[in-house]
């Protein structure tokens, strides 16, 4: 199984990830890849305790990039979560090969434009998305397994191929 889901979602570990994707893909391990969380003792503890029965590894971008290929050959399924497109881009730049990113939740903040109910982007997000797309990654918008997957470029004219 190895990597079962690479997800971009500002909530990191939360209900959709644990209950909806978790029930479908049965991960043994969830990587929370975030330099800020990795640098904060209480935030590390918060996420490590968030998924009973699943091992949670909190890692910096550099640590996750270094371990990415090894996890790909692990016997059981793993999820990788980042909070934004910029972190996904940094992970790719650091050498992690990710063919497909699930875009699961980028919520409203000032300056961001609505793409759909759970994806809002600003200029920096679009720049990061373009960099990921031009490096060959697919960006697939889908909050839960039951909803229809759609390429980000099909929803946001600024990212249309």
């Amino acid at each position: 199984m190895s990597w079962a889901l690479h997800r971009i979602d500002d909530r990191l570990i939360h209900g959709q990830v644990l209950v909806a994707w978790g029930a479908r893909l049965d991960p043994a391990r969830i990587w929370v890849v975030d330099d800020g969380v990795a640098a904060s003792a209480w935030e590390r503890d918060l996420f490590r305790e968030a998924a009973p029965g699943i091992e949670v590894r909190v890692a910096s971008v550099a640590e996750a990039a270094a371990a990415h290929a090894e996890e790909a050959s692990a016997p059981r399924a793993a999820f990788l979560l980042v909070r934004d497109l910029g972190t996904a881009r940094k992970l790719a730049d650091a050498g992690a090969h990710v063919e497909e990113w699930n875009v699961g939740g980028l919520h409203y903040a000032p300056g961001k434009e609505k793409v759909n109910d759970y994806v809002y982007l600003d200029d920096q997000d679009r720049e990061d998305a373009k960099a990921l797309l031009s490096a060959g990654a697919r960006l697939i918008v889908q909050d839960v397994p039951a909803s229809r997957p759609q390429p980000l470029g099909a929803l946001d004219p600024a990212l249309a191929p």
Partner: protein, 144 residues
């Protein structure tokens, strides 16, 4: 929302433990509406949904509700590991007396309402954990 519930034995509440219920969609609102059908109107319970909120916004919203609790309170959320819980946990760490109970159900909420004027927040939390568990029972059908 009218008069508060009477305390145990008709004594006026000394220190009522406040509660914030944070859930997905409008579950919190529906739970309180259901509880009001059982016990009448309910005061001093704040409701919040995570609908459409980023992690930071949800955490800020929760902190906005609990920051004025001078003597602690309860944060009741729907399930462990959901954003309502993890953002609540993050918000609560700056307010020491806030205790979180996940897995809220109607019997748990009713028990909170019946005991919030006589127990402290940590005592209530222990009691509600047990009450919520005990309230889940199975009764098998009898084949005809």
């Amino acid at each position: 929302m009218s008069a508060p519930l009477a305390g145990e034995g008709g004594t006026p509440p000394a220190k009522r433990v406040p509660a914030l219920i944070v859930t997905h969609a409008d579950l919190a609102e529906a739970l309180v509406r259901a509880a009001e059908r059982v016990v009448g109107s309910i005061e001093d319970v704040t409701l919040l949904s995570n609908e459409g909120l980023s992690r930071d916004d949800l955490q800020d919203a929760i902190e906005g509700c609990v920051k004025d609790w001078k003597e602690g309170g309860l944060l009741l959320t729907d399930f462990w590991g959901g954003s309502c819980h993890t953002c609540g946990s993050a918000a609560a760490r700056r307010h020491g007396e806030v205790v979180i109970v996940t897995g809220i159900n109607l019997p748990l909420l009713l028990d909170y309402l019946h005991n919030r004027d006589r127990l402290s927040a940590p005592e209530l939390a222990e009691r509600l954990q047990q009450k919520g568990r005990d309230s889940i029972r199975v009764q098998r059908g009898v084949p005809a």
